[in-house]
Amino acid sequence: MGNSSSLMLRDEEIDEISKETEFNRNQIVRLYSRFLSLDKKGQGYLERDDFLNVPELAVNPLGDRIVDAFFTLAGDNEQKLNFRQFVRILAHFQPINRGKKNVLNGRRDKLKFAFQMYDLNKNGYITREEFKVILNSMVGANITPEQLDKIADRTIEEADGDHDGRISFDEFCRAMEKTDIEEKMSIRFLN
């Protein structure tokens, strides 16, 4: 009982994180409380399983991909996420503030997160096969492999500017030009 309170956040840390991510103190404390509750084993860091324990994420068709993108962007090869890294990724989803120079939640940063979801092997390109995997997670056994192929083909063709059969990050950004990324990938934080 009460072992979670021993992993307290120091004031200096809160200030540093606040400067880096533009979250205010109150939000950081609440996110820390959330971090601790996800960290059921009290290890001080989060692993993949800790995320997938959240039922609403586990039933999300892209649940696995989201967790994967999380860990990739955090840059940690060991698949362990500390609180700092956790908050930095969440900061990507802050609404874009015009007139404020923010390094984490720009349009490109949001697109980077989405790209990481699709790029399974992290080689900087989305291939037809990788897109098929994504599609498969979303619809499961409800479509035939032929339909899967067809949709994947069409998708790659649409975005593949240089006709190399795969989509680079730049091609991805260009394909998303007409989409309101800021609206789709922003979360309104309270307080």
Binding site: L38, Q147, E158
Partner: protein
Amino acid sequence: MLILLPIFFPLVALLLAVVIVLAIFGKSLGIREWYVDVLTRIFEWGSAIEAYEAPAEVDEEEPGTGRRKLRRSSSSDIGIIVREKSTVVESKLDGNEPEENQQKTVRVIVNDSLDFATAGMEAIIEDQVTSRFKAEELSSWNLLTRTRFSFHHISWKLSALWVGGFFLRYFILVPLRVVIFAVGFSMMAGSCFIIGMIPHKKIRKFAYKHAMLMSQRIVARSFSSIIRFHNQENRANQGGICVANHTSPIDVLILSTDNCYAMIGQKQGGILGFMQTALSKAEHHIWFERSEAGDRKKVTDRLRAHTNDPSKLPIIIFPEGTCINNTSVMMFKKGSFEIGSTIYPIAMKYDSRLTDAFWNSSEQSYGEYLWRMMTSWAIICDVWYLPKMTRKDDEDAIAFSRRVKRAIAHKGGLVDLEWDGMLKRERVSSKLVQMYQKRYFDRLQRTTSIGQITENESEALEVMQNLNDEERELLLKELDDSMDEATLIKKVSEYGPIIRKRLQSSAGSSQSQSS
């Protein structure tokens, strides 16, 4: 100090006697209510000190807000974020789409994947399910360290209050409570054994009912509980099944101070097991062995036999199957709703401002929990008896359970969730994941041409199967590698009407031949 002792003991004994006598008759002097009132006022004063000494950080965008406002509501769902995308995703999956149909498949899929991503992030930050398995956050501190997140020192006044509270709880209240509890408990056990020996059935029932009510009231007082019952005209009198939402092991105790119930549960060891044996001596309860617990049919049969017997007491069941933190009601297991007898729903809502009665079984053992309750301020609970419900003819057990659950959630002011309480310990089942995939596929069928791909394809397939040799040769001459699939399918489908005509005429000729 020693001189005070001889005066002290008789006073205490007198106090205990008063409490017990009052409990027996179900009356109250209103002391507990007064005590709760005083405490609430002290807590609010404490919050005011806190807000004064350590004002919350002002958000840069709103320079004028200054001090944080004190929230008065006791069980507010204080959120970190606004969960917009999760709602959007849910409405898309349910079929309430804002967009028109027949959009490009690729566009829809890519846009949806972004929505899924954001909804997933929202779930990571704040979700509806895991929060139900831990105690809710309080808006004003109730001077118990267990509800405090960070211990940084705020003010001397507050710390002094806390020390005073500690002293009061551990050194004055606990001894009194332990004694009262012991009296109540032994009375419960003792009376059961004695009553069990009475041969005459009616007298035995009468004696049991009153002995139980009395002893439960005494035990309830040992937790300094204030229980308010509403709509007592709906109380179950004979037979039937009472269902209630589950928050803590003392739920049964609280309900038993007003009405007598038969209980159902697994046979335990230790003190609980002793209690179960004692209770069974005087009245019919259903205790099943751990090995039988898995055999649902056996349990259901015993349950049905009990409820069909009008001489037996109404049985109390908690269909959630596990303790939830009293901010929501989770999925009801359908077992008790399959039996077909009348259901008497009961809604229970604890007021957590003074003490949170929720038992987090992954964090505390049963003994630790009881000790926590002993060392808390008070337990306040509102109990509503809802009018009885029976299963409608066109309703199955699951729909019925949902209807009852909705009624209970509505009455108690709790959020109605469809999630399974077992998710406290288990992972989401793959069946649930597949269900979501199906729902997404249905959405694609509604909004894109993905369904039409299926239709055209299967038609083409059928045509191919029915071609005879010369038609096949003709078809092959028309097709070539340079065509894309859509054109291929179209070409094949063009043969469709020809084939149909041929099949019809051959069927017609065979008919005329046979007749």
